[in-house]
Amino acid sequence: MCGIVGLLVKRAEMRNQLGALMVPMLVGMTERGPDSAGLAVYTEPVSDRKHKLSLYSGEHAVDWPKLADELREAYKHPQDIATHGNHAVLTTGADPDLVSGWLAGHAPHVAVLSVGHSIDLYKDVGAPAEIAKRYRFSELNGTHLVGHTRMATESAVTPAHAHPFTAGRDFCLVHNGSLSNPHLVRKHLEPLGIEFETDNDTEAACRFFEWRLREGDDLKTAVARGFSVLDGFYTFLMGTDKELLIVRDAFACKPAVVAETDDYVAIASEFRSLAHLPHIAHAEIFEPKPEEIYTWRI
């Protein structure tokens, strides 16, 4: 079992409330996912020539400013770093693939959680309320976010196995359910040069969709293709820099509720994570139908 939450605010003046509105949503899904939690938040994009990398060092203490200095030295590009204990958002003018490669060699304890122009990603093990506090989720600003609370059923409880999963640029996915053929999917993707970081089933779905996006599919087309490729149970919630998408498998065993008003679209596994939202009594509330793809753009 897991919990998923998603929120997209429709008015620019609500962007500074994004995190505050979301924290009760995430904490509300604690019973569905008490062992880990995470979220991806889409912020104002950095300029086209720059990228943001969300970095995570787990239990290892990292001297982030020193790391940024070393990167500046290596690539002669400006590097800004915003840090939060074991988490940092690095904004770089250098090629993000080169930076990731450099980090793997020079700072092996630092994991790259996400890469893109808009996305910041946080995930860790622990109760959702603790994680929300640890990374000050209530202060987050942005247009939309994708969050998850995890109760592991098929692979280990580690930060790397926590959701959201990311692949490519500005793409993330969270999952409630379990896939029965992730190894098959992986076997098809690995010969194409697609590398996996974990043995988690959700990562296979994430990398499949991202591969289809790179092959020219739009997100809806990629997700529709997944109906015949991904076997198992799922409610997937996905984010790109421009949109939020939810889809449930044909059997719809894994719940989801959407509440939409003129101000926001909020998605959660259960209504109890939506009950606190403003004007919820007047929201349009529905359950996504099986194998129907729902998207909202910022």
Binding site: F251, A252, P255, L274, A275, I285, E287, P290
Partner: protein, 236 residues
């Protein structure tokens, strides 16, 4: 002379401050002894198991949306949800009445033995799965796999049905007014008799709906799965 007719005694719970345990304990143990027959519940906010396991002639009104298993295992009581219900509403009901004014999520009325479940809106997948004798009236449409392996009871669907309606049906009977995307294994359309029309009329009336019974089609079991056939090549 003062009016001697006793006024029904009402009690209100607010789940924003009262706990779910307070509410259910009261409904199970104290309501009858207190002479309270009407209970109003405010701010359920998606809580699970609201008013489940009741076993007395109570009239419970829940104002808001509820989560999993609302009014599950109900006996005797009338529970009205003025909102939407999560998965498993009225599952395993034995008797009484559960009325969902909004929509109901998956597996509404699953395995219910008796009583009446009314859903004004749509019911999601697997409505009435393994039904064991209760009646279900859905004002809207039902999702796929509804009435799967339903053993006894009646389901009236005023809208459409999804895929595999009535798969592996036993003795339960389904009446559908709209389109059926597909029937499940061993389910078949059968002619409506006067008895069927009377049954539909009675159920619609109990649910407060005014459709014409003649607009409904009957779906029941062809009973070809009742016995094992050595020649069937096991291709069902």
């Amino acid at each position: 002379m003062a009016n001697l007719k006793p006024v029904p005694s009402t009690r209100e719970f607010d789940l924003a401050s009262d706990t779910l345990r307070d509410l259910n304990l009261y409904l199970h143990r104290h309501a009858v002894a207190d002479g309270v027959s009407q209970i109003r519940v405010r701010n359920p906010d998606g809580a699970h198991s609201v008013a489940c396991g009741l076993n007395a002639d109570l009239d419970v009104h829940v104002h808001g949306h509820v989560g999993y298993y609302a009014a599950g295992m109900n006996s005797q009581a009338s529970v009205t949800i003025h909102g939407n219900a999560g998965p498993g509403a009225a599952e395993n009901m034995m008797s009484g009445r559960v009325h969902v004014k909004g929509f109901a999520s998956t597996a509404a009325g699953a395995s219910a033995h008796g009583g009446l479940l009314v859903i004004d809106g749509d019911a999601s997948l697997r409505c009435g799965i393994s039904l064991k004798g209760a009646d279900i009236v859905v004002g809207g449409s039902v999702g796929s796999f509804s009435a799967f392996m339903a053993q006894a009871g009646r389901i009236v669907i005023c809208g459409d049905a999804g895929d595999a309606l009535g798969d592996s049906l036993y003795e339960a009977v389904i009446y559908v007014r709209g389109e059926v995307r597909s029937l499940g294994a061993d389910a078949r359309f059968e002619p409506m008799t006067d008895k069927d029309r009377a049954a539909v009329k009675g159920l619609l009336s109990a649910a407060g709906l005014g459709h014409e019974p003649g607009e409904f089609k009957r779906v029941a079991s062809a009973k070809s799965l009742y016995h094992w056939h050595a020649d069937a090549n096991q291709e069902y």
